[in-house]
């Protein structure tokens, strides 16, 4: 019997799901880096979501059928996926039946959804138009995070910016 593709994130399904539910979000992290041309492997989808009650309700409804659970947590915890849980928390690293999904209420060096909105660009992928953090902001938040493991990532993003600036439009 074939084993499930645990390490493969169904990007099309996740983006379509969020779009169809009307969730306000911005792609950040590794997937945003991929959108800008990064060649690095990333397995999860990181989004910054708007923390309005309406948006949190949309997020809850969208993900509920896809078994969201805290990634790395032992099974059987009394984790309830509802608007109250999101309201009381901020950032959630989840597994879902579609793949790993990180919901971020705020990111270091970038702030909240509304702060990041002016620094996001529209991308259309798999027929879904969504917002993605722009390259300079992505570099800034990675620098602000100050994690040693991000040094190679930042170097690649800065190289991407240089390459992009060199390319004729």
């Amino acid at each position: 019997m074939p084993e499930p593709d645990r390490g493969v994130t169904d990007l099309k399904a996740i983006l379509t799901l969020l779009r169809d539910a009307g969730v306000e979000f911005i792609l950040v992290g590794g997937l945003a880096a991929t959108a800008h041309g990064s060649a690095r492997l990333t397995r999860d989808v990181d989004i910054v979501y708007a923390r309005t009650p309406e948006n949190m309700a949309r997020l809850v409804a969208a993900l509920a059928p896809h078994s969201p659970y805290l990634r790395g947590a032992p099974p059987g915890l009394p984790f309830r996926w509802d608007a109250e849980t999101i309201r009381r928390g901020l950032n959630f690293t989840l597994t879902t039946s579609l793949g790993s999904l990180d919901l971020l209420g705020e990111i270091t060096g970038g702030g909240l959804y509304r702060d990041l909105l002016p620094e996001s660009v529209e991308v259309t992928v798999f027929g879904v138009t969504c917002r993605c953090l722009d390259l300079p902001a992505l570099i800034r938040v990675k620098r602000a995070a100050g994690r040693p493991r991000d040094l190679e990532v930042i170097a690649e993003l800065e190289a991407l910016r240089e390459e992009r600036d060199r390319r004729p439009e």
């Binding site: 994130t9 997937l31 990333t42 397995r43 309201r87 901020l90 930042i154």
Partner: protein
């Protein structure tokens, strides 16, 4: 913080968060000047891969990422099978 949280009918971290955010200065003073450590890492970036990626659409980049995820998954399974067979 506890009396405030109890009065608001909320847990303490949630209450602290709500109070903190409006008060938080959202000015991020992050230098984007060249950093010698990052410059050192930049020398090892394979720019040929980046140039090829920049020729692709965003969708093609996402599809390439998913193919890479599948390959990584298969390699991990192969490694696990190999370890099982050895033991």
């Amino acid at each position: 913080m506890r009396p405030i949280a109890e009065a608001a009918g909320r847990c303490q971290p949630a209450c602290a968060w709500d109070m903190m955010v409006p008060a938080m200065a959202r000015t991020y003073d992050i230098s984007l000047d060249p950093d010698p450590v990052i410059e050192a890492y930049k020398k090892d970036v394979d720019r040929t891969l980046l140039r090829e990626n920049l020729k692709l659409t965003v969708e093609e980049r996402f599809l390439a990422l998913m193919a890479l995820q599948r390959t990584a998954e298969e390699m991990q399974r192969a490694g696990a099978r190999s370890r099982r067979n050895r033991s």
